[in-house]
């Protein structure tokens, strides 16, 4: 193996762009590993871990670009590193680029601006968000790793001025029919959404769209907004605004269970809202605070969409029916081809909320599940890289993504994990999510298909079969096209369900059925 790197002083690129560059480099012939990173201390450690070291790297700073490559021969290494400009300019996109480096210049150029979309690294994000608020701009704060005290102070500052901070650590919003960050293409309609997580909002809004209704606005408030520490500052701003908004006829609230103190403070305001509210706090049933609400309550994102749709259209969404002939036939078919060893389920998720919701559904069905992001602390995986018994892995956590592309952008990490699970003779079911929409991978199902087929072949060689179950979050208007992605998965023998909840409900039935075969309780 040969190693080399190129450093470009004072050449900053954003992390998503660099992930795409690294992905493209790693696909070149003879390239074993490629990294395209800014010279932060954390990134220097990552480079050292893959065997890339040097005095110039030690001296680099966060404004310097480092491209490092491990190759199996010198020729491959040279061909990539001598032509770095080509890799950095191949995918520059079509939006106009002005030589604007400061927020003040952007505001002067576009004085009617009403929103700052901020996705700089977490340690700088609060500074940029504060400047945007001072300019009277609402803020969509995509960045994660924003300190809690900064989040509170920014949100308080915003609320006092009639502004909102969406996020941090929430990648999705829809405002007036326009998707911001990782959002799906959904029609406008009467349902307003306040959501704590990006994929939760994506699933809900896609289900509403595919059922024929639409979304007025979906505001992502961030995973910590409803904690006791933050107390729902952005939640209250979002609720006030959606209650006043003429197009919004009903409001859906989607989150993990809020902090007890935050909840008791927010309940009177929620009950006071003069528009119908659907509340979905994901989590095990025994932890559910739903009893506190007179409003309509849901336990899954699909339940929430179904309730909201019923209120605005009067129509019922087709739901999962365990006793239906179709499901019973599928269970029997999948069970019949298993060998006695195959008893475990492995879920490999790109969306954190889908992993969380699937754990909830399995736990409610009496099935204990391990995870790197567990509902219950005692079922935390000792090693996130290694599954135990029934396991659901959130591949979007820092366990996997530090210095590497998020699985919604590049499925490489997921493909490696799927193959590893396929090698385990005790695995009988694989549960996957596929997330479409703006800024996600251009072909997420296509990236997974050959790996799924390979894992299925391995199971067959051992005399069994691998059931692969998936859901696709998205719409026909997304850049990736929902129907096309469904077709690709079905072509690879994947059982595709219309929602993440239904896919998990089917897996719970099938996993229970496999346990019955071998007498495991």
């Amino acid at each position: 193996m040969v190693t080399g790197y190129v450093i470009r002083k004072n050449e900053y690129h954003d992390s998503v762009f660099l992930m795409r560059v690294a992905k493209r480099l790693s696909e070149q012939k003879g390239i074993l590993q490629a990294a395209a990173l800014m010279g932060t201390e954390k990134n220097k450690v990552l480079l050292a871990e893959i065997g890339v070291r040097g005095a110039e790297i030690s001296e680099s700073n966060p404004s310097d670009l480092i491209i490092a490559v491990n190759a199996d021969n010198q020729e491959a290494l040279t061909s990539v590193l001598e032509d770095i400009d080509r890799w950095l300019t191949i995918d520059l996109g079509s939006a106009p680029r002005y030589d604007i480096r400061m927020l003040d210049e952007a505001v002067a150029m576009q004085p009617r601006s009403n929103l700052a979309v901020i996705s700089v690294p977490g340690s700088y994000a609060a500074r940029e968000a504060r400047k945007a608020l001072e300019h009277g701009l609402n803020v969509f704060l995509f960045s994660d790793n924003v300190p809690l005290e900064s989040e509170i102070s920014l949100k308080e500052y915003a609320r006092e001025r009639g502004l909102i901070v969406m996020g941090p650590d929430c990648g999705t919003a829809i405002v007036g029919g326009k998707g911001i960050g990782f959002a799906n293409s959904v029609r406008r309609g009467p349902i307003g959404v306040i959501g704590a997580s990006g994929t939760g909002i994506q699933e809900f809004t896609s289900l509403v769209h595919r059922a024929g209704s639409g979304i007025s606005h979906a505001l992502g408030i961030g995973s910590r907004d409803l904690s006791d520490a933050v107390g729902g500052i952005s939640f209250l701003s979002a609720l006030d605004a959606l209650e006043s908004d003429k197009q919004t006829k009903i409001i859906a609230i989607l989150s993990k269970p809020p902090g007890q103190l935050a909840l008791s403070n927010l309940i009177p305001r929620i009950l006071q809202c003069h528009k119908p509210i659907v509340v979905c706090f994901l989590g095990p049933k025994q932890d559910s605070p739903h009893a506190n609400f007179h409003s309509r309550t849901a336990h899954t994102l699909e339940d929430a969409a179904a309730l909201a749709l019923q209120i605005v259209t009067g129509n019922l969404l087709p739901r999962f029916n365990a006793d239906s002939p179709r499901i019973q036939t599928l269970i029997q078919r999948e069970r019949a081809s298993k060998n006695p060893e195959q008893r475990y389920l492995r879920g490999i998720f790109a969306g954190g909320t889908f992993c969380f919701q699937a754990q909830q559904i399995l736990q409610d069905a009496g099935i204990a599940v391990h995870s790197n992001a567990p509902l219950n602390g005692n079922l935390k995986l000792a090693n996130p890289m290694r599954s135990e018994e029934h396991t659901l892995v959130d591949m979007g956590t820092d366990d996997f993504t530090v210095g590497k592309p998020h699985p919604m952008i590049d499925s490489r990490l997921r493909r490696e994990r799927i193959l590893a699970e396929g090698q385990d003779p005790q695995v009988g079911i694989l549960l996957l999510d596929v997330v479409l929409g703006f800024n996600a991978s251009p072909d997420p199902a296509g990236e997974l298909v050959s790996t799924i087929e390979e894992a299925k072949r391995e199971a067959k060689k051992r005399g069994g079969s691998l059931s692969v179950v998936a859901s696709i979050c998205g719409t026909e208007g997304d850049p990736q096209n929902f129907q096309q992605q469904v077709k690709l998965l079905k072509g690879a023998g994947v059982i595709v369900f219309p929602s993440s909840a239904q896919a998990a409900q089917f897996c719970a039935l099938l996993a229970a059925s496999l346990s019955e075969v071998i007498g495991v309780k």
Partner: protein, 57 residues
């Protein structure tokens, strides 16, 4: 005092994008007016220098 969040919902977004360029592009594809800021870490990413600059400006 005008509520700027309500204005945002009524008018739709007119955006300034700071960070991931792809977010500007996806907004532009949807017909949103957007100005992208070519952000770089202030003071070369040196936190002490950054704090000094903030105090001066």
């Amino acid at each position: 005092m005008s509520n700027k969040l309500e204005d945002l919902l009524q008018q739709g977004p007119i955006a300034i994008n700071i960070g991931v360029y792809g977010f500007a592009e996806s907004l532009q594809i949807q017909g949103v007016q957007v100005v992208h800021v070519n952000w770089t870490p202030p003071a070369g990413g040196d936190p002490e220098l950054m704090e000094l600059l903030d105090q001066l400006l």
